[in-house]
Symmetry: C2
């Protein structure tokens, strides 16, 4: 049942049979065990989809993330990518170098600021990025198909609300900007 409660007391309910579970409540608030665990399993399966394909290229999830965001944000600065991925430039450098050497990403000198190395996916890089996104989209669409209409909107609202308040605006702007950039 929907039990988003008032005050500090939150009750988790069991999956499946709808049995309410009275909480142990040491601190007065029940942990949202169901969401915590569903998120774990859902995310595990979600990121697992592309693994098989990545294996054929001898790439890992780190490469996937880099390629994904570069493809989605053509001409992005290295610094922006670092911000999104939340890793150090040394960590990024390792996988980025491989993606560049193998022709999935190219760098162009910035026009206004020639210190910048703007990142672009090559056609080859775009193809791989799309292939991986297609796999994940398949899962997402299957889920939305099982649920009723409005599921997409509900999922988007939920996931957005789960993001840090500080980042949320930036993330939404980034997604909107990327959508525009890829329409052209």
């Amino acid at each position: 049942m929907a039990d988003i409660n008032s005050g500090t007391k939150i009750s988790a309910s069991a999956i499946g049979d709808g049995t309410a579970v009275p909480g142990a409540a040491e601190g007065g608030t029940d942990a949202a065990w169901d969401i915590i665990e569903l998120l774990f399993f859902a995310y595990r399966d979600f990121v697992g989809d592309p693994d098989e394909v990545l294996l054929k290229y001898a790439f890992g999830r780190a490469h996937h993330r880099v390629l994904h965001f570069v493809n989605r944000n053509p001409g992005m600065k290295v610094a922006d990518l670092l911000d999104i991925l939340n890793i150090t430039k040394q960590s990024l450098g390792r996988v980025l170098k491989q993606l560049i050497d193998q022709g999935f990403i190219v760098q162009k000198e910035g026009e206004q600021d020639r210190r910048q190395r703007l990142l672009y996916a090559t056609p080859k890089g775009e193809a791989l990025s799309l292939k991986l996104a297609a796999l994940q989209t398949e899962r997402i669409n299957r889920a939305f198909g099982e649920l009723g209409p409005g599921a997409h909107e509900a999922a988007r609202r939920f996931l957005t609300a789960m993001i840090d308040g500080d980042n949320r605006e930036g993330v939404l702007r980034q997604i909107a900007r990327a959508d525009r950039a890829k329409v052209r």
Copy 2:
């Protein structure tokens, strides 16, 4: 469902291996870029919450996952934990040993089958597990608070639908069983 997400079509040619995309009768389905990226950012923030606490114990996310599931499933077998985590016993062994040595988890010989080493969180282990779950629950409840009533149910349905069909039943059973087990 058609606002942010429009633009790049996924087509068989772009995918390259001829994989059919469900619902792509007229030459392509939009990749669900928004959900893909929101899931990435939401999960990143979600698993990041406990990191600070874990640092104080010199533990990582691997320890967190092990402690979490052991606490939620008192008396579970090592083999079951391996199934849930999808890692090798050698990988598990490393972190499990530390959790045992430092008194967060204990093992008891199985009663019917004395080869088994059933896993239990100690009071100390349970306390840490709850502390970490409370952090994540805080984020979840904040999100549900921002969204209307029904958000919990909607999120649960979405996340459930995102899980592999094969595992889904098992996951739901596991969550339900754990909920009962923790009611003592």
